[in-house]
């Protein structure tokens, strides 16, 4: 398994099971790019001004959302004050943790 992969769920020990298996089968599957059937509208709006470029997009990007709270670009009542307490690496760790949570 790739060392940088995020493990969402783990049941059993696949590596050990494969290593001791009587017979293993290897195959490579490929399929063409599939269009998403996203539930959100697939569009984006950008507002470009001399100071900044603000983009509204359905990215589901928790890391960017926290960073936007931190620098005041995203309207907030409390998340702006909270996000200022976390470094880039910590925001990434928070986003990764949420990414591994199964519903």
């Amino acid at each position: 398994m790739a060392s940088l992969a995020v493990i969402g769920n783990k049941a059993g020990d696949a590596d050990a099971a494969i290593a001791t298996a009587a017979r293993t089968v290897e195959a490579v599957y490929a399929y063409p790019y599939q269009a998403h059937a996203a539930i959100e509208p697939m569009n984006a709006t950008a507002l470009y001004t001399p100071d900044k470029c603000e983009v509204w997009a359905p990215t589901q990007n928790g890391e960017a959302a926290l960073a936007a709270f931190r620098n005041g670009q995203r309207p907030a009542t409390v998340m702006d004050r909270i996000a200022k307490g976390f470094s880039d690496a910590e925001i990434l760790a928070i986003a990764n943790w949420y990414g591994t949570q199964a519903p």
Binding site: V78, R81, I82, G85
Partner: protein, 132 residues
């Protein structure tokens, strides 16, 4: 420190062998700059539980970042808040510089209404989380 950790591991392993550890909220002895709120106690309890799990599984404890938010309802639709982020420093919990503070004094009425809604949502979340 290592010896202290080994002792804590031994104690915890005996405690879990004897039954279940239930941790609802735990005001820290090393409170430092962190206020004594329900939010803070709950955050500290979660950090404590995570550390117990890591000690029991022979993993190194992680240094926590703790959040506090304290809401007050001036009127049912008029909320104010103070927040902070904390980290262990010199044996106490210290403010993470630049984070936290009070909600703006000159905030519009809609902001105060939102804070009131968030205060109620927070209460519902934390009581459901603790008591089910």
């Amino acid at each position: 420190m290592t010896g202290q950790r080994t002792n804590r591991r031994t104690f915890l392993k005996r405690a879990t062998a004897a039954g279940t550890i239930a941790l609802l909220a735990s005001p820290a002895l090393a409170q430092g700059a962190m206020p004594k709120s329900a939010f803070a106690a709950n955050a500290q309890a979660k950090a404590c539980a995570q550390t117990i799990i890591r000690l029991l599984t022979d993993a190194e404890p992680m240094e926590p970042r703790l959040i506090n938010t304290c809401y007050s309802l001036v009127a049912p639709d008029y909320g104010i808040s103070i927040a902070g982020v904390y980290h262990p420093s010199g044996g106490l919990l210290a403010d993470v510089p630049g984070a936290g503070g009070i909600s703006p004094l000159d905030a519009p009425r809609t902001f105060r209404q939102q804070e009131a809604r968030y205060a109620e949502a927070w209460f519902k979340t934390i009581t459901t989380e603790i008591f089910g």
